[in-house]
């Protein structure tokens, strides 16, 4: 139910020149930012997680819930890593190089990286790991994002990727959590159920839907890391139970705090709240093929009928920011700063309804809390605010179970959430381009599609910005989705824990890497 990938603002620097990025980042520490205090080693970190299911599996292609994604980053390394500041930094790949058309990429692997099993990293491991997701019969959730790779060849410690078309953002793709590097077997494939990995911790024990225990990988290649001796990860679905576990000291860290009570949790002694805002956004997609949503004026009426500030205050309890009906977050490279923030305006609602030739509008919106936390409440508030403009919005409660197969993209007006994508292109190409599988509004705009292709290959920074600005404008004004808010990741932890000054915002849990980034204060 979560997104394929979630990353933020791979900042400023040109991605093409990945090698330079290392140089800059290496001045501080290669994988983090300046530290608040001198880290101390030792201790067992106990983490309580809100998601995780007994149907989880070790196969990286099936990873979906936070429990497994956290496991992924704790046990594994990737070719590239998104640092806490949002920049792309090398991990198992020391450096990378692209051809001029950005269609051929050469990654140079770090040598001497040791797996938990003692196996040493080779280019074959990388090829086998990526191949696991490719091919006709791939069942991997990551199949679409590696579909562009037409060929991979090993050359010593270099791996050469050939793409079907140029993609300037390809190194970002390789940081996707589905793509950990696992040891190749003799036949050139990986064992998808292996517990081996080359990350900071080895799995000591794992029971899906319940918990896992990890022990420090003594041969980890990152100097001095990790700080913890061991990590215990427990699934605690229930909001109250999770918070109680933290308050009573049964766990040191919880990945999700209940927004209804976070203000109370905050007052508990020894508890700190962790909140980061990135690209995670909540939306209400409309099927632009279906009446009445095929009329752009109806869509605009609905967009003006929602009280965004109220939603952020109430549904997010203030932990988030206003959305402007497009999926690009304020922290991203090409965020359109010139686009006026859309406000709640009943007069405009009426205006657009009249334009659409209507006196009033009766529509159903199909929601479940599976769409996003508080979706039903959001629907209720939306209905309240929209009624002032003459829209009778009827909130239909759908079961959580089966929401994504039965309601989402099936009902003409529903709810959705996106963890977002690290690049504008990736986000737009995933859900806004004509005919792509996850175009949840069945929206098609010629100008937008044109811009998408040209911006992807555009190397001129200013031109590219201009094009992305225009695309955001188009989505916001003509697109089929209402995006009222960007939601923060809100967790909480015991003040015995210490962490670097900067916390990654691409994912929960410090980019799911608190295992190697955090430590106990004493």
């Amino acid at each position: 139910m979560t997104q394929l990938t979630n990353m933020t603002s791979p900042s400023r620097r040109g991605v093409l020149k990945g090698a330079t990025a290392i140089g800059a980042a290496a001045l501080v520490t290669p994988w983090g930012t300046p530290l608040r205090a001198q880290p101390v080693s030792g201790g067992t970190l106990r983490v309580g997680m809100a998601h995780g299911s007994t149907t989880d599996a070790l196969d990286p292609g099936s990873w979906e819930a936070d429990f497994m994604i956290f496991q992924a980053h704790t046990r594994n390394n990737y070719l590239t890593e998104i640092a806490a500041d949002g920049s792309l930094v090398p991990e198992l790949a020391e450096s990378w190089e692209a051809s001029a058309d950005a269609a051929t990429w050469t990654f140079t692997l770090r040598s001497g990286v040791e797996f938990h099993s003692g196996h040493i990293l080779t280019a074959d491991d990388v090829i086998a790991s990526i191949n696991h997701h490719r091919g006709e019969d791939s069942t991997s959730a990551a199949a679409p994002i590696v579909a562009d790779i037409t060929d991979m060849t090993a050359d010593g410690m270099n791996v050469v990727f050939t793409l079907s078309a140029g993609n300037a953002d390809f190194p970002f793709v390789l940081s996707d959590y589905h793509l950990p590097i696992l040891p190749a077997q003799a036949d050139g494939t990986i064992d998808p159920n292996t517990q081996d990995g080359c990350g900071p911790f080895r799995i000591a024990e794992i029971e899906f839907g319940v918990g896992a225990r990890y022990e420090r990988h003594e041969g980890y290649w990152k100097e001095g890391l990790p700080y913890f001796d061991a990590i215990e990860q427990v699934v605690i679905f229930d909001d109250a139970a999770r918070q109680n576990a933290l308050i009573s000291g049964d766990v040191d860290y919880i990945d999700t705090a209940d927004l209804n009570t976070v203000h109370l949790l905050e007052r508990a002694p020894g508890i700190e709240i962790l909140s980061v805002t990135g690209t995670q956004h909540y939306g209400l997609p409309m099927d632009t093929r279906a009446a009445p949503f095929d009329d752009v004026n109806v869509r605009m009426a609905l967009k003006f009928g929602i009280n965004r500030q109220q939603l952020v205050d109430t549904i997010l309890n203030g932990y988030g920011s206003l959305g402007n009906d497009h999926p690009i977050g304020p922290g991203q490279r090409y965020f359109n700063t010139e686009l006026e923030q859309r406000e709640y305006d009943p007069d405009r609602v009426q205006f657009h309804l009249r334009e659409a030739g209507m006196e009033s509008l009766d529509v159903d919106i199909h929601l479940a809390d599976a769409a996003f936390a508080g979706a039903l409440d959001a629907g209720v508030l939306f209905a309240e605010s929209a009624s002032a403009g003459g829209i009778n919005l009827n909130v239909v409660r759908e079961p959580n179970d089966g929401y994504w197969s039965n309601v989402w993209m099936q009902k003409p007006f529903a709810g959705t959430y996106w963890g977002g994508r690290p690049t504008e292109d990736w986000m737009f190409a995933t859900a806004y381009a004509e005919g792509v599988p996850w175009n949840e509004t069945y929206w098609s705009n010629d100008r937008f599609n044109e811009l998408l292709v040209s911006a992807r290959a555009e190397l001129d920074e200013d031109l590219r910005r201009e094009q992305y600005f225009e695309m955001q404008q188009i989505v916001s004004d003509e697109g089929g989705i209402i995006i009222p808010m960007f939601a923060a990741y809100v967790g909480a932890y015991s003040d015995r824990l210490a962490h670097p000054e900067q916390i990654a915002s691409n994912w929960r849990n410090d980019g799911h890497r608190i295992g190697e980034r955090w430590w106990f204060a004493s």
Partner: protein, 320 residues
């Protein structure tokens, strides 16, 4: 006694039929749910291609009856199959959780059954007194609160920073606690369940006993000068056992099969969560496995109840 053995044999055979029908209903029910395993497990990230590939790989494209018959053939040979999601054996998945579910159910039952019997007997003894009405009203109040809410209240009162008990049973999944540790850690979940099931059993005990108090043999016992307590315990209770045993069995079945909410609140790794997760993911072999365990528990408990009720009735044990 042989007629009791015959009854047990008949009921076991009937139980097998029940299990079979349950498996059929659950199978059809899960089939009728929108979406299949491939869609659900891939969730929002499903694309037509990956869904098709996954279906192909797991044999989900076979017609319904072929899959059901395949499963049935395996189960008859004692093979519960493997989880579609992660290839773990269903027997293995269920095994550990079943033990923990049974532990919790036994713990709760060990408190709840004696408690409700004693309260029921006392309520019958002091019927219509303040004690009776108060016990009744408290029991009713406790079952009119949703389980999770009862759990929260108990956590608030008895756990937390200076409480005597841990707010979650996390420590159970962290390792095998010894017996006393277990009693401590699982106390709140067990107490929550106790509050949930006590009222029903208590009321039934009280009603079953009071129902008999106008019997001539009770009057006879009073006229033999027996004390009220002895009349209730020695004379009324043995004859009221059948309905009490029945309601106890129903509640024990509930303790095994119906505790998913308590499991969630107390982070107790039992079968309920496994069932809910598997249904959500349409992981048929696991759903079927757990459903069979639940139905089996229900059938066995009912059978035990009937056997005990029979044994408690001399008319049925010692035929003329």
């Amino acid at each position: 006694m042989s007629h009791i053995l015959t009854m047990i044999a008949q009921r076991l055979a009937l139980g097998l039929v029940t299990l079979f029908v349950v498996s059929l209903i659950i199978f059809l029910g899960t089939e009728l749910l929108p979406g299949d395993f491939a869609q659900e497990i891939l969730g929002q990230s499903a694309t037509p291609e990956t869904v098709a590939a996954l279906r192909e790989q797991l044999g989900l494209n076979d017609p319904m009856h072929i899959r059901y018959l395949g499963w049935l053939t395996d189960i008859v040979q004692g093979d519960f199959g493997e989880s579609l999601a992660n290839g773990q054996s269903v027997a293995g998945l269920i095994g550990g959780r079943l033990v923990r579910t049974l532990q919790l159910a036994s713990y709760a039952a060990a408190i709840a059954v004696p408690l409700s019997l004693v309260l029921g007997i006392l309520a019958a003894l002091f019927r219509n007194s303040f004690f009776d009405r108060f016990a009744n009203a408290s029991a009713l109040s406790s079952i009119s609160f949703p389980e999770f809410f009862v759990a929260y209240i108990l956590i608030f009162l008895l756990a937390g920073a200076n409480g005597a008990f841990p707010s979650t049973a996390i420590n159970i999944s962290r390792g095998d606690p010894n017996f006393t540790e277990y009693l401590h850690v699982a106390f709140l979940p067990a107490l929550t369940l106790t509050l949930v099931v006590t009222a029903h059993m208590m009321r039934m005990t009280r009603a079953a006993i009071i129902n008999l108090l106008s019997s001539p043999y009770i009057e006879m016992a009073r006229l033999k000068g027996m004390s009220p307590m002895r009349i209730i315990v020695k004379h009324a209770l043995p004859n009221a056992l059948a309905p009490i045993i029945n309601v106890v069995a129903l509640n024990l079945a509930y303790l095994i099969t119906g505790v998913v909410v308590v499991e969630v609140v107390f982070v107790y790794p039992g079968l309920g969560q496994l069932m809910v997760d598997s249904v959500a993911a349409r992981d048929m072999p696991v759903v079927q496995g757990v459903a069979l365990i639940f139905a089996g528990a229900y059938v066995l408990l009912n059978l035990t109840a009937d056997v005990l009720a029979t044994l408690s009735n001399p008319r049925l044990v010692h035929r003329r």
